[in-house]
Structure formats: C-alpha cells, structure tokens
Amino acid sequence: MIIPVFYMVPSGEIRSSVQLLNNDFIPAICLDTEDFNEWQRIYQFLSEHPEFVFSIAIRHETELTQAQLEQLAAFCFLPSFFQRNGQAPVFLIHSLPVAATTAVSELADYLDRLGLSNIRFADIGNRGQIIAETMDQLLETYAIQLRQVPDGTQSVMIKFRDPATHSAIKLSLGVVENDFKNSQPELAMALERIRELLKLNAGLKTKNGLLEEELKNYRTYNKILQTIHPDRELQRFYDREYEALPRWYKRFGHIIKAIMGKRRWSSLVNDRKKGGRL
C-alpha cells in the first residue's frame, strides 16, 4: 500500500489475524486497560514472533497504571514495533477527552524518560487519526489521502469488522491506487517522488544526527585522553624536576655537556643567535 493502512485487531484475534494481515496492513493490536493479563500474553506472542510487524491501540478511560506503562514500553522495545521515518504511532481509544489528555502527557513523559521519544500518540477518540468504519469510508478516505501532499503522517485505520476478506480490501485499495495513477499520472508521480525524498531526508537527518553525536563522543574521548594520558605525568615530572631549576644552573649544565662532547659548542651559539634561551 502507498499509504500505511492500520487494521485494528482485537487482542483475542491476534494469533489468527497477524499472519494474514502482515504483508498488506499493519495490525494495530487493541489492548484494553481492563484486561492487563491479555497484554502480557500478547507480548509473549510478539516476543516469540519478531517477524510480525505491529502497532498498538490502547483502549482506556482512566490513566494507565505503572505496570501498564512499563508493559507498553516493553512493546516499544520489540524490533517489530512499527516505525516509519523514525516515528512510531501508538493509538489511543477513549471517550473522555480531558482524562485522555492527562494520560497522553503522562505516557509521553514516561516513555521519554526511558529514551522512547519517537512515539507519536494518535488520539482516535478525538479524531486525531483518520479512521474508516465502513468499506466505502475506507475507499473514500484512502483516495483523499493519496492526493494529499505527503508529510510522513498520512495513514488510515480500518476499524470495521467486514465480511470482506483482507485480500478483498487489499484489492479494492489497489483499484483506488490505480485509478489515481491513471487519472492524474503527473500528480501521482510527483507525490511518489516527494514520499521518496521524505524517506531519504529522514534517513540522512538521522545519519547526520548520529555522526554529530559520534563526533562529540570522540571530542570527549580526546579530552579525557589528554587529561589522563601517561605523557602528562612525564611532563609533570620534567616540569617539577628540570624546569624548576634556576636558569644559571641549566646554562652551566649545557656548558658541561659541551665540555663532555655531548653537545656541540656551535649549537649553544646558534641557540643564542636564534633567540634561544641556551
């Protein structure tokens, strides 16, 4: 699919649906705060099957408990947790906007403290995410999204239980895509190019950030090495034992070296000519 299509899957059906969906749609596994044991079972399943890409939709009316927050974070650490251009959506389903707002900020704050700052919350209850509740709605929504200038956030969520099979839905969406490509080929091509560039840009931005970080690391290592390097001790020894001596004593030492043949007389004169300190 050109636009990512999420398919809301009740947690009880994950085992049967995920394999069927995975090649075409991204299963958004619906987790209810009322049934936390099910969250753990789903986690075990996904942990054992890293080949299934997934996302999560949390059904909640109250704030999440600490155990639920940690379980959500554990889902986000799985390698198959869906991400696009460095962003990973988590869907929230609720009917109380005020309670939900508090919950979202707490969720975001907790995940950020674990380093998970790339999670983007999509609020289904407040229409923050485009959802399709019927087949007609899906096709219409998909056609509109296809024609929008891509910004990396476009997606559609299928929320209906339809007698149509997954493959029938895929087929219908394929027809919508072809219609668009045939009716407005230039626009379709231009939008596709923008999508490619967005992806490339996101990749380069990430790489640039990482290289800057690595450069910063090496500057720190260098600073540490300069601070702790054994050469510093040697320099300190030299400064303490030799540089601290009076100048006349050091000059006398150079003359003795010249007398003993360990230094040329001319080097003493040359040093003076050059403004050296002898």
């Binding site: 942990s47 940690e70 650490f77 390698p79 990430t206 970080e213 090495l225």
Partner: protein, 254 residues
C-alpha cells in the same frame, strides 16, 4: 530440536558486527543458552539497519546447537550498556523463564583509554570456554558464590576510614545504596559490567525495583564519568551489589 537453556546471555550492542558476536558466543558457550540481545538504534554503527535484517544476520551466523532462542530488542542509547542490559533484564523477567545462570556482556571498545586492548582482553576472558567450565564448577561447588568475574576486574573503591567511595560518582552511589536498601553490601564491584551471575541472587531485587524504572533514571547518550559523577556509572557499581548482596560472594577466576 530445542533444549531448555540454563544460561541467559545479556548482550548489549553499540558497535554492530552482530554475526561476529553470534559466531563467537556459539563457538565458546558449551551449554544450552538463550541470547537476549539489545541493539542501540541511535548508534552510527547500527544506522539504517532494521530489526528484521539484524535478526536474519544473527540467525545466519548461528552454529552448533547450544543457542536456543534469540530475543532481540532495539532501544535508544540511555545508560550506556547498563541501560541496554536493563531492557534485556525486563524482557527476561517478562518471559517467565527459569534460568540458573546469567552472563552480562557488551561490545566494549573504551576509545577513551590509553590502552583499551589490555582491559578489553581481560574482561572478555569470561567468554572463553575453559573459563566457562571453571565458572560452572565453581557455582556447583560453592553455593555462596553469586558473581564470577575475570581476574583483575573486581575493583574496590570503598574507603572504610571515611566511609565513602573513591569515585566521581561517590555521592550518587551513597544515595542509591540507601535508596535501594543495600546496607552491608559487598564493596568490591566488577568494573566493566561483564560477569557471570547466579540468577536467583538478583530476582527478588528486580521484582521490587523493576529494570525499566531503573533505566528511566539513567542519563541519555554516551555519558562519561571522568569529569563528573553520573547515575549510569553509579549503577555500574550497584549492579554487582544487586547480585552479590545478602551474604553472597564475588569471585575472580584466572
């Protein structure tokens, strides 16, 4: 055919070379083991590689029949190797597996040290097969031993005269020892955070203080403690004490 693993290896990867590490682990570990493997996603060495690609690379590098399962996790750089190992500990606890021995490892490079190779070689001694056999014999023979590390890797920073730690993270260490009620703990710790541990020795602690709640307190990025103390480096000490508190012993082996 899979066998039940008796060892869980926790490996934190920052520098890539996933196939190389799997090959090395399979070659050296003589007993069935599960591999909990954390990849730092925001490391330039792992940039642009997906979890699926890493898993394919790791599975292709498997040899012998001792590696039972790979549990791959992907996380941002927070708390350095310790932060990654806490993600893996969380995954291990959620798996509900009954494992006897744990092995903590990471791909150490220490580019800030004047002689990183000597230090690295000393720490990786714990991954050599003759060392592993010695560890198993020691765990069987002495039930009071809960942590085993390579000779020369156990550091002692506690000064009993001043009752403080000779470390830039001393204040934080002291605070945490009190917060986690580690009064009377072992004072020696495994520098470098690579060691063998008896799983049962740390299980109660991590039931009370979840690994992720600890990770949430650690600093982000590649923090160093050469100029200032950090919670990450305080935890480098404390993780040894978690597994060696309450009368357990730390042993070094040659």
């Amino acid at each position: 055919m899979t066998t039940t693993a008796s060892i869980a290896v926790f490996f934190h990867n920052y520098y890539g070379d996933h196939a190389g590490w799997v090959e090395r682990l399979c070659r050296n570990i003589p007993l069935p083991f599960d591999l909990y493997y954390n990849v730092v996603e925001n490391s330039i060495h792992n940039a642009g590689v997906t979890g699926a690609e890493i898993l394919t690379e790791m599975n292709a590098a498997k040899s012998g029949n001792q590696l039972q399962k790979i549990y791959l996790r992907v996380s941002p750089n927070q708390g350095k190797d310790l932060g990654g190992k806490l993600v893996l500990l969380d995954s291990f606890m959620r798996s509900g597996q009954k494992i006897e021995w744990l092995l903590f490892l990471h791909d150490k490079q220490s580019p800030h040290k004047a002689d990183p190779l000597t230090w690295k070689n000393r720490l990786y001694r714990i991954l050599e097969s003759d060392f592993i056999e010695k560890v198993m014999r020691l765990f069987e023979a002495d039930e009071s031993v809960s942590v085993v590390a390579a000779e020369g890797s156990v550091a002692q920073e506690y000064d009993s005269c001043t009752a403080s730690y000779k470390s830039s993270s001393a204040v934080l260490i002291k605070e945490m020892v009190q917060a986690y009620q580690m009064i009377g703990h072992n004072t020696g710790y495994v520098a470098g955070t690579m060691f063998w541990a008896r799983a049962s020795a740390g299980s109660e602690f991590f039931k009370e203080y979840s690994p992720l709640s600890i990770r949430a307190t650690l600093e982000k990025g590649n923090v160093m403690d050469d100029f200032d103390g950090t919670r990450t480096h305080a935890w480098e000490r404390i993780i040894s004490w978690v597994f060696s508190g309450q009368g357990w012993k730390i042993k070094e082996l040659a």
